[in-house]
């Protein structure tokens, strides 16, 4: 599903080594936390999963796509097999909750009938069916993040990538988001989540990949948040 094989990433501009000889595999249906200090390499991994960045050396395979050799035209195909949730939600402010979710389905050319059926379905999954006609500005941070999750799930992705999804939320809202992510994972979707939230990582008891200065320092099956000082 996701393979990082001896991956090194050096940014050309300042010769910064973001990832160094990194290797790990994520199987279908797993829930994996990526933890580490700022600059440890979490964002580089996320960007590589989305093919925003390519490895300097080594191999990255995501859903069968080789990120190193993927052509520009194939990138949309890769991204359609993924769902992405960002810390800042990235919703379209001038569209309703329904339209924000439907938008992701329009992009992949889904038929209108399917969109009308699927959007209420995913909104129910994140407990927001009653807010379909609201605009993002009328929602709390937690609700906005749930809309962003519904959008990520609209096209039934096999992998859900979450980049600090609870970073802007209080503990209660964060717990709600984690409960939904867990529910999604239970249904078979692989979840890869980059986070700084120690309490969440410790309470979930999922696989934890710890990074430090671009290198993998710990990979535990039911780990906790330990990034060192």
């Amino acid at each position: 599903m996701i393979i990082f094989d001896n991956v090194t990433k050096v940014y050309d501009d300042n010769k910064t080594v973001a990832l160094e000889n990194l290797s790990f595999t994520v199987e279908k249906g797993e829930f994996v936390f990526l933890v580490g200090h700022s600059g440890a390499g979490k964002s580089s991994i996320i960007r590589m999963l989305l093919c925003e960045e390519r490895p300097t050396s080594g191999k990255v395979i995501v859903n069968g796509f080789d990120i190193g050799t993927l052509s520009q035209k194939q990138i949309p195909e890769l991204r359609r097999s993924l769902g992405v949730v960002f810390q800042d939600f990235r919703l379209l402010p001038n569209r309703t909750v329904y339209d924000n979710v439907a938008f992701a389905m329009h992009v992949v050319g889904a038929p209108t009938k399917q969109i009308r059926r699927r959007v209420p379905e995913v909104l129910s999954l994140v407990d927001l069916a009653h807010k379909a006609r609201a605009y993002p500005s009328q929602l709390s941070g937690g609700e906005q993040q749930r809309v962003s999750m519904a959008r990520a799930l609209a096209n039934n992705p096999s992998i859900l990538i979450a980049d600090e999804p609870t970073g802007n939320l209080d503990l209660k809202r964060s717990d709600e988001i984690m409960a939904i992510l867990d529910r999604i994972n239970q249904k078979g979707t692989t979840v890869v989540m980059a986070t700084h939230a120690e309490k969440i990582v410790n309470s979930m008891q999922k696989r934890v990949i710890t990074l430090d200065m671009g290198a993998l320092v710990r990979d535990e099956e039911k780990g906790g948040y330990e990034v060192g000082i």
């Binding site: 989305l50 925003e52 035209k73 949309p76 195909e77 890769l78 991204r79 359609r80 993924l82 992405v84 990235r90 379209l92 001038n94 938008f103 992701a104 329009h106 992009v107 992949v108 050319g109 038929p111 209108t112 959008r151 096209n155």
Partner: protein, 295 residues
């Protein structure tokens, strides 16, 4: 592009225009201004083409005979002229006809001619139309050489003048059209660039959820086409209004030349302006979106 896709792109394009009304109006006015100047030149060009043709058709030389030549003598000279090569027609104008024609031009003042003897007023002449206007000099020389021809006059200078003005305006029109198109594409692309820039976030989200570059481009291109189309429609209406007013004003000066009516020129001008508007609108959008798709 499937129909479902087209429907979505169109609805997105209309929404974008609605959300960015001010920018859309700016673009429409830009396109309209460029097309208006172009449309005006086009109307002038079409009329000049017609005037040139009319003048070419009217291009004739007139061979005058001595005043004392009677109808019979004049006819003999005219017959000689009619068999020359490059003569399309040679029509005799007798002294009486010349007198009558002149009298007609005086209208209500014709009574001043009452005491003038037609045989002493204007000489008989032969009006000659050539087959080939470019051989007019040679024909003029041949006619002058015929016995009984006293003087030959032609309207070649006028025709040449109109032909050269016509070609200057035609060339100017082409250069102008290219310049206006470039200016319009530049301004539209900049206006749409502001729109694209304002919607950078939306484009990023689209890319993250797997939108292809063409999926992102189409609404902008359709937006450009709509802007170009609306600009062209306004330009057509104003061109129609101005050309109608101008032609009415020119008609009141008399019928020296037959100008094209608006209903005659406008179908062609409308099609050209609409095509021009739509193409520059689409091109402007394409240029604007090009740089913003790298995510």
């Amino acid at each position: 592009m499937a129909f479902r896709g087209l429907k979505y792109y169109c609805s997105e394009a209309f929404k974008n225009i609605w959300y960015n009304k001010l920018m859309a109006i700016t673009s429409i006015i830009t396109v309209m201004s460029c097309l208006l100047i172009f449309g005006f030149f086009l109307v002038v060009q079409l009329n000049l083409n017609d005037i040139t043709k009319q003048l070419e058709g009217q291009c004739e030389i007139q061979a005058f005979m001595p005043q004392e030549y009677n109808d019979e003598q004049a006819k003999q000279v005219c017959d000689k002229i009619s068999v020359l090569p490059n003569v399309k027609s040679a029509i005799l104008e007798t002294r009486q006809q010349a007198y009558d024609n002149y009298k007609d031009t005086l209208g209500t003042a014709a009574n001043v001619m009452e005491n003038i003897n037609p045989e002493e007023f204007l000489p008989a002449s032969c009006k000659i139309r050539p087959n080939d206007i470019s051989q007019l000099n040679e024909l003029e020389a041949q006619v002058s050489a015929i016995e009984g021809v006293e003087e030959v006059i032609n309207r070649r200078d006028t025709v040449n003048g109109v032909i050269s003005v016509n070609s200057i305006i035609r060339n100017g029109c082409i250069i102008f059209a290219v310049l206006l198109a470039l200016i319009a594409v530049f301004i539209i692309s900049n206006t749409i660039k502001l729109d694209v820039h304002a919607r950078q976030r939306e484009i990023h989200i689209m890319k993250y959820v797997g939108a292809t570059d063409w999926f992102i481009r189409w609404p902008f291109i359709i937006e450009g086409i709509i802007v170009g189309f609306l600009g062209a429609v306004v330009a057509i209406l104003i061109t129609l209004l101005i050309s109608s007013l101008l032609l009415n004003a020119l008609d009141s000066f008399g019928n020296i030349f037959q100008f094209r009516s608006s209903s005659d020129t406008m179908p062609l001008v409308s099609v050209v302006l609409l095509l021009f508007g739509v193409v520059i609108g689409a091109l402007g959008s394409l240029v604007a979106v090009r740089k913003h798709l790298q995510v």
